[in-house]
C-alpha cells in the first residue's frame, strides 16, 4: 500500500508542477483575450481597463496564481472570458465526452490487440504473423489526421454514418434503445480512428512480449505436460508477459489522449479537443490551462490504474514494496 501512496504523492506534485508551468508560460505570452476588443472603436479604453481589472489581468503573476489556486480549491478552476462562466462546469461536460470516446477506444483496441498479438506470436514468422506485421506496418505509417479525414470522406460519400457531432438533433424524442443506437453511430467513426491508430503499437508490443515468453523453459515443460494450447497461451504465456503490457497501458493513455484531441476536432465531437482549440484561438487563458490540467489528470489516472494493475498482477512488485 505504501508503494501506491508514494505514487499518489508523486502525481500530486506532478500536477502542481504542470499547473505552475502553464501559468508561467501564459504570463510570458503576448496578447490577451481583450486584444480583439481593443481594435473595436466602440469599446472605450475605460471599459477595457475595468474589464482588465475585473478579469484580474492587471495583477502580477504570483497573485493570479494564488487566486487561481483558491478557485481551484473551490472547484471552479478560474473564469472563462469567452463563456462568461467558471471553467470547471464547462470542462466536466467536455471531459465526460472525451472519456466516453477514449475509454471505449481503449477497451476495443486492447480487446483486439491481445488475441491478435498472441496469434501473431504463436505463428511467429509464418503466414498469419507476416500478414499481421504487414498490416501493422501500414497502419503505423498512416497518420491519424489522414486516417480520420479518409474515414470521414468514406462516411460522407456512403451516407451511412453521421460525419460529426455527438447525437442527432431529435435525440430527446428517441426511445432509450434508439438513443443508444444513435450515440453508437455517432461514436463509430471517432472510435474507429482511435482504435486503428493505437492498435498497431499495442499489437507489436503484445507480439514481442508473448513471443519472448513463449521460448521460456517453463512453457515448454507445461506443453510437455499436455496442458491445452489455448490455456497455455492465455493462462500462462499472457500472464507472464503481463508486466511490460501493463506499463504500456499506462503509456497508451497519453497517446490516446493526443489522438483523441485531434479526432474530436476533425469529427466535431464535443470533447476537450474543440474546447481547447477554441480557447487557444480566443486566448481564453483559464480554459487552456484547465484543459491541459484535465488531460494531465486523465493521464495520471491512467498511469495510476496501470500501477494498481501491476501491483495486482506482478508478485515481484508486491514483495519489493513490502521489503521496503
Amino acid at each position: 500500500m505504501r508503494y501506491l501512496a508514494g505514487r499518489l504523492i508523486e502525481t500530486v506534485f506532478l500536477l502542481i508542477g504542470v499547473s505552475f508551468l502553464t501559468f508561467l508560460f501564459s504570463s510570458l505570452a503576448p496578447g490577451s483575450y481583450l486584444d480583439e476588443m481593443r481594435l473595436n472603436p466602440q469599446i472605450s479604453s475605460e471599459t477595457l481597463r475595468s474589464l482588465r481589472a475585473e478579469y484580474q489581468l492587471d495583477q502580477p503573476l504570483p497573485v493570479r496564481y494564488a487566486r487561481w489556486a483558491v478557485s481551484l480549491a473551490r472547484g471552479e478552476l478560474g473564469y472563462s472570458f469567452a463563456y462568461n462562466s467558471p471553467v470547471a462546469p464547462l470542462l466536466w461536460v467536455r471531459a465526460r465526452n472525451t472519456l466516453l470516446l477514449t475509454v471505449t477506444a481503449t477497451l476495443i483496441a486492447w480487446a483486439l490487440a491481445l488475441p491478435l498479438g498472441v496469434w501473431s506470436a504463436e505463428t511467429l514468422g509464418r503466414l498469419p504473423d507476416r500478414a499481421l506485421s504487414l498490416v501493422t506496418a501500414l497502419l503505423l505509417a498512416i497518420p491519424d489526421l489522414v486516417l480520420a479525414l479518409g474515414l470521414l470522406i468514406l462516411a460522407a460519400r456512403s451516407g451511412r454514418l453521421p460525419t460529426g457531432g455527438f447525437v442527432s438533433v431529435n435525440f430527446e424524442t428517441l426511445s432509450p434503445f434508439e438513443k443508444l443506437r444513435d450515440l453508437a453511430s455517432h461514436m463509430a467513426l471517432p472510435v474507429a480512428t482511435l482504435v486503428l491508430t493505437t492498435l498497431p503499437v499495442l499489437l507489436r508490443h503484445v507480439r514481442a512480449a508473448v513471443a519472448e515468453v513463449l521460448d521460456a523453459p517453463f512453457l515448454r515443460a507445461a506443453a510437455a505436460h499436455g496442458i491445452p494450447r489455448r490455456k497455455l497461451l492465455y493462462g500462462y504465456a499472457l500472464r507472464a508477459a503481463a508486466h511490460p503490457l501493463i506499463s504500456l497501458f499506462g503509456f497508451s493513455v497519453g497517446t490516446l489522449l493526443s489522438g483523441s484531441l485531434l479526432v474530436e476536432i476533425v469529427m466535431s465531437w464535443p470533447g476537450l479537443g474543440p474546447l481547447l482549440l477554441e480557447a487557444i484561438l480566443a486566448r481564453d487563458l483559464y480554459v487552456v490551462i484547465g484543459t491541459v490540467l484535465f488531460s494531465m489528470v486523465f493521464l495520471v489516472m491512467g498511469n495510476f490504474l496501470a500501477d494498481v494493475l501491476l501491483f495486482w498482477a506482478d508478485p515481484r512488485i508486491r514483495s519489493e514494496a513490502s521489503v521496503k
Binding site: 503505423l140 497519453g254 493526443s258 487557444i280 493521464l299
Partner: protein
C-alpha cells in the same frame, strides 16, 4: 545483410520523394499561388491518347473542362476544347533550391490549362501545391528534428557525462515531458505564442515549437550511450593520459552516439512533419497562401468540400509514402544496429 538491403531500398525510396519535393519547381507545371479563376474545384484531368472519334494521337492530350449542363456546380469534359501536353517546356519562372532562377518544367500544356490532380477552391493547381507544400512541411520536419536532436543531444550529453545534480534535474524534467500527451503540449506551447503572424514567422514559430517539444526522448537515449561510453577502458585510459573533457567528448564519446541520433532522426522527421500538418490543418501553423500539406487538407473542414470534392484529399496520399519511407529507414537502422551489436558480441 537483409538489414543493409532493406536500408538501401528505403533510402532510395526516400531519396526519390525528397528529390520530387526539393525540385518542386521543375516537376510542378504551375506556380502554387497562380489562379485559374475559370476553374475552381475542377476535378483531376485524364491524360488521353485516343479521342472522341477513336483516332489515336501520338502526342498525349486532354480535354478542358466546362460547367456541366446537367447538374449545377459540377464540371464535365469539353470535347471541343483540346489541350496538348509537351515535355521539358519552359513555363512560369521559379527558383530552384530557392536561388537558381529557372523556367524549365517537366511538362506543360498548350491550348488549355492542365490540372493533373485538379484545382482547389481558388482554381490553384493542386499537383503544384502538393509539391510546393511538401517543401514547407519537409523543411519544418527537418529543422524541427535538427533542433530537437541538438537540444536533446546537448542535454543528454551533459546529464550523462557530468552526472550529479544535472543528471537528476534533466532526467526528471525529461520524464515530465515524456509523460505529457504531446499534442496537448504542442497546443499549449502554441497557445502562448502570438496568434496572427506572417507566413515566414509562423513557419519559424512552428519549427521552434516542434523543436522544444521533443527533446526528452533523444536526451534520454543519448544519456544512456554516454553513460556506457564514459566507462569504456579506452576512455578511462585517455583520461589517465590527461585528456580534457572536450577532447574526450569530441573524440571518443560523441561518435558513439551517432547511431542513436541517426535512428532518432528517422523517427523524428516524420513525427514533426505530422505535427506541422496537424498545426497547419487547425489553422495554428503555416497560413495561406503558402501551401503546406497541413493547410491543403484544411479545405476538408468544410462539409461541402468533404462531400463533393474528393480530390482535395489527395495531399494526404502524397504524405503516406513519405511516412512509410521514414518508418522503413528507422526500422532498417534499428535492425542494422541490433545485428551489428550481435556480430560484434560474437567476435
Amino acid at each position: 545483410m537483409i538489414g543493409r538491403l532493406q536500408l538501401k531500398f528505403w533510402l532510395v525510396t526516400l531519396g526519390v520523394i525528397h528529390l520530387a519535393i526539393v525540385g518542386a519547381g521543375f516537376f510542378a507545371p504551375y506556380d502554387p499561388a497562380e489562379q485559374d479563376r475559370e476553374n475552381p474545384y475542377s476535378p483531376p484531368m485524364k491524360i488521353r491518347l485516343v479521342d472522341e472519334h477513336g483516332r489515336i494521337h501520338l502526342r498525349p492530350f486532354f480535354y478542358a473542362t466546362r460547367p456541366s449542363e446537367r447538374s449545377f456546380g459540377r464540371v464535365e469534359e469539353d470535347p471541343d476544347k483540346m489541350g496538348q501536353m509537351y515535355f521539358f517546356v519552359s513555363g512560369p519562372s521559379y527558383r530552384l533550391l530557392g536561388f537558381i532562377p529557372a523556367r524549365l518544367h517537366l511538362f506543360g500544356a498548350e491550348g488549355s490549362r492542365f490540372h493533373l490532380l485538379g484545382t482547389d477552391g481558388f482554381g490553384r493547381d493542386l499537383f503544384s501545391r502538393i509539391l510546393y507544400g511538401g517543401q514547407v512541411s519537409l523543411l519544418a520536419g527537418l529543422l524541427g528534428a535538427a533542433c530537437t536532436l541538438l537540444v536533446g543531444g546537448l542535454i543528454g550529453t551533459t546529464a550523462g557525462f557530468y552526472g550529479g545534480w544535472r543528471d537528476v534535474v534533466f532526467m526528471r524534467s525529461a520524464e515530465l515531458f515524456l509523460a505529457l500527451p504531446w499534442l496537448y503540449l504542442l497546443f499549449a506551447l502554441r497557445a502562448f505564442l502570438p496568434l496572427t503572424v506572417r507566413p515566414l514567422e509562423a513557419f519559424l514559430l512552428v519549427v521552434m515549437v516542434l523543436g522544444t517539444v521533443g527533446w526528452a526522448r533523444p536526451a534520454r537515449l543519448v544519456r544512456g550511450v554516454v553513460l556506457g561510453a564514459k566507462e569504456r577502458d579506452f576512455v578511462r585510459a585517455a583520461r589517465g593520459f590527461g585528456a580534457s573533457d572536450g577532447y574526450l567528448l569530441a573524440r571518443h564519446i560523441l561518435p558513439e552516439t551517432s547511431g542513436v541520433l541517426l535512428t532518432q532522426a528517422a523517427i523524428l522527421v516524420p513525427q514533426f512533419v505530422l505535427a506541422e500538418m496537424t498545426l497547419s490543418f487547425l489553422g495554428l501553423g503555416v497560413p495561406e497562401p503558402a501551401p503546406s500539406w497541413g493547410n491543403l487538407l484544411a479545405a476538408l473542414q468544410e462539409y461541402s468540400v468533404l462531400v463533393s470534392y474528393w480530390w482535395m484529399y489527395l495531399p494526404a496520399f502524397a504524405s503516406i509514402p513519405f511516412f512509410v519511407g521514414y518508418l522503413g529507414v528507422a526500422n532498417a537502422l534499428h535492425v542494422d544496429r541490433m545485428t551489428g551489436k550481435i556480430d560484434s558480441e560474437r567476435r
